[in-house]
Amino acid sequence: MVLENCEIETTVFERPDSLTGTTSHYCPGCTHGIANRLIAEVIDEMGMREKTIGVASVGCSVFIYNYLNMDFVQAPHGRAPAMATGIKRVLPDRMVFTYQGDGDLASIGMAEIVHAAARGENISVFFLNNTNYGMTGGQMAPTSMPGQKTTSSQTGRDVETQGFPIRVSEMFSKLDGASYIVRRSLHDPKHIRMAKKAIRMAFETQVRGLGFSMVELLSICPTNWGISPLNSIKWLEEKMIPYYPLGDYKIHPALAEIKL
């Protein structure tokens, strides 16, 4: 062992420029923080912080503009893709993304997101699916699982009366306007690394002008699910992934050449 080497401090982990450092309001165990950080890291790595505009939505995602260190706007519930459309059409050389939960994207905002995808709107969408409305206290979402107990489906989601969950990525894979549609998960380091690559690919899709990109991120919500973070991860693996299989749902051929 050479003595000098011990004196050199090597930074192995630091806050990306694209994160503000503000303490988040997310609950303990929540995966929103991971998603925020991954987006920040990717934007840093692409050197795009000063050319990026984020669109926050309504739900637990609402305060993302406090955490990401770049220009941001805050959309009405469900309308983030429409706002992003307005921004991108006026400023086509900026990188524009929305960050939306499942209530926002797949319920009240379903029309806006479907049509943004169908138009091939050149924006990126990060879609956090945690199968419930987090901020308002764990109500049933369009993504809640059959039988899932929520504060508005207290004996479990009854598909006879409350219908079935929506598999958003599968649905969007059929839209000609969509260029990059994948589902990833945030439940362990391996999957988190895969999620980060997908976020990068989504932005690369946009930067190349290839059109609409969306990364669905399966997430946990221990507080509202009423179970520990560890058990939440287990539930995600055992219940959510079989219903919402991870994978690539649509990849534009021009993306094949990109190696990350």
Partner: protein
């Protein structure tokens, strides 16, 4: 001076283009659709943004996004579509962004019909979306004025960080008249210090309508109110006709005022000393004009194509000093000048009753006729 014969809706569109609108987002609805159609070819031709949105909700939120960039943006719709947009309108007001919205009014409530009406006065002037905010509301009565007020709308929107509504109707929108278009303005190159365009070389910015702290929200509401006081002090517009020696007054806005003008001219030719007051800004409302009406005025007739929505503002501004009557057609029925003339004759022949509310007396007359 070169005059062109244009439809009101298309004239507004071209005026907006020349005023430097960089993006337009809309949704088809009669009787506004020509505006959207015009923009669909005109904007791309100039390399500007046009999107036919999936709904009025989509359209107004695209405008919201575009407005955040500081560039001029607009949408247009007609009554039911505007109702759908009001969520976004409130958010845009709450974010203090400039934008222009054209409402080509039609008969309502509900789906109503597609004929000209003025029944969205209250919606545009006194509310619409939730929360404590006001929009500047401009009411043109001709194609030329639609053009002129469109240009003004963009300037006022920028000047006051305000929503400006051009409140027109199916009649003015569908009508062809001669108009002189403004020169093509260069697009904006400098932007306010709130515009979100990416944080290159500066601190990041964010635009939101959230104020979780009531004290901060109150502060914001005060700011809106202070700005509104400036608007009221500087931007009231109103046109008067034949008022110098008038003993009677007819008042109305937009189409009603035009129709009333025909009646007033005939009455003048008959020797009746009647004038016309036409508010051009409905918000801010020209209250002083009505407050200052001479005591020599023996009667005032408010004419609208709604059930007396502006009437309330006229009465309040006038403090019930001038004996006032009301006349209207509703639901998309456009009055003819001879109907208004009949009301002028009645006003001159029988002193106006001051019992009860003018609307109630009018309705009683309508019901009595059967």
């Amino acid at each position: 001076m070169s005059l062109e014969l244009m439809k009101g809706n298309e004239a507004v569109a071209e005026a907006a283009v020349r005023a430097g609108v960089v993006s337009y987002f809309g949704y088809p609805i009669t009787p506004q659709t020509e505006l959207l159609e015009y923009m669909s070819h005109r904007m791309p031709e100039l390399g500007r943004a046009f999107v036919q949105a999936e709904s009025e909700l989509g359209a107004i939120n695209m405008v919201y996004g575009a407005a955040c960039t500081g560039y001029r943006t607009m949408t247009s719709s007609s009554s039911p579509g505007v109702s759908l947009m009001l969520e976004g309108v409130s958010y845009i007001a709450g974010t203090e962004l400039p934008m222009v919205i054209v409402n080509v009014m039609r008969g309502g409530p509900g789906l109503g019909n597609i004929a000209p009406a003025q029944s969205d006065y209250n919606q545009m002037v006194h509310g619409g979306g939730h929360g404590d905010y006001r929009c500047i509301v401009l009411a043109p009565c001709s194609v030329q004025e639609s053009v002129d007020l469109t240009v003004l709308a963009f300037d006022l929107a920028d000047k006051y960080r305000s929503i400006v509504v051009i409140l027109t109707d199916g009649s003015i929108g569908q009508m062809m008249e001669a108009c002189e278009l403004p020169p093509m303005q260069p697009l904006k190159t400098t932007f306010a210090d709130w515009a979100v365009q990416g944080c290159e070389g500066r601190e990041r910015r964010f635009l939101t309508s959230i104020n979780l702290d009531p004290a901060a929200q109150e502060e914001m509401n005060y700011r809106l109110l202070k700005r509104w006081i400036d608007v009221e002090a500087n931007e009231i517009r109103c046109q008067e006709y034949y008022m110098e020696d008038a003993e009677y007054v007819v008042t109305g806005f937009g189409s009603s005022a035009r129709i009333a003008l025909s009646a007033v001219r005939i009455a003048r030719a008959e020797g009746i000393k009647v004038g016309l007051i036409r508010p051009i800004t409905l918000s801010p409302f020209p209250r002083q004009v009505y407050a200052d009406l001479s005591d020599k005025i023996k009667g005032m007739l408010v004419v609208e194509m709604n059930a007396g929505q502006m009437l309330e503002d006229v009465l309040a501004a006038n403090r019930y000093r001038t004996p006032t009557d009301f006349f209207a057609r509703l639901g998309g029925v456009v009055p003819f000048p001879d109907e208004v003339l009949g009301e002028i004759h009645r006003m001159v022949e029988t002193p106006i009753s001051t019992d009860g509310h003018p609307r109630d007396r009018w309705l009683a007359r309508v019901l009595a006729k059967g």
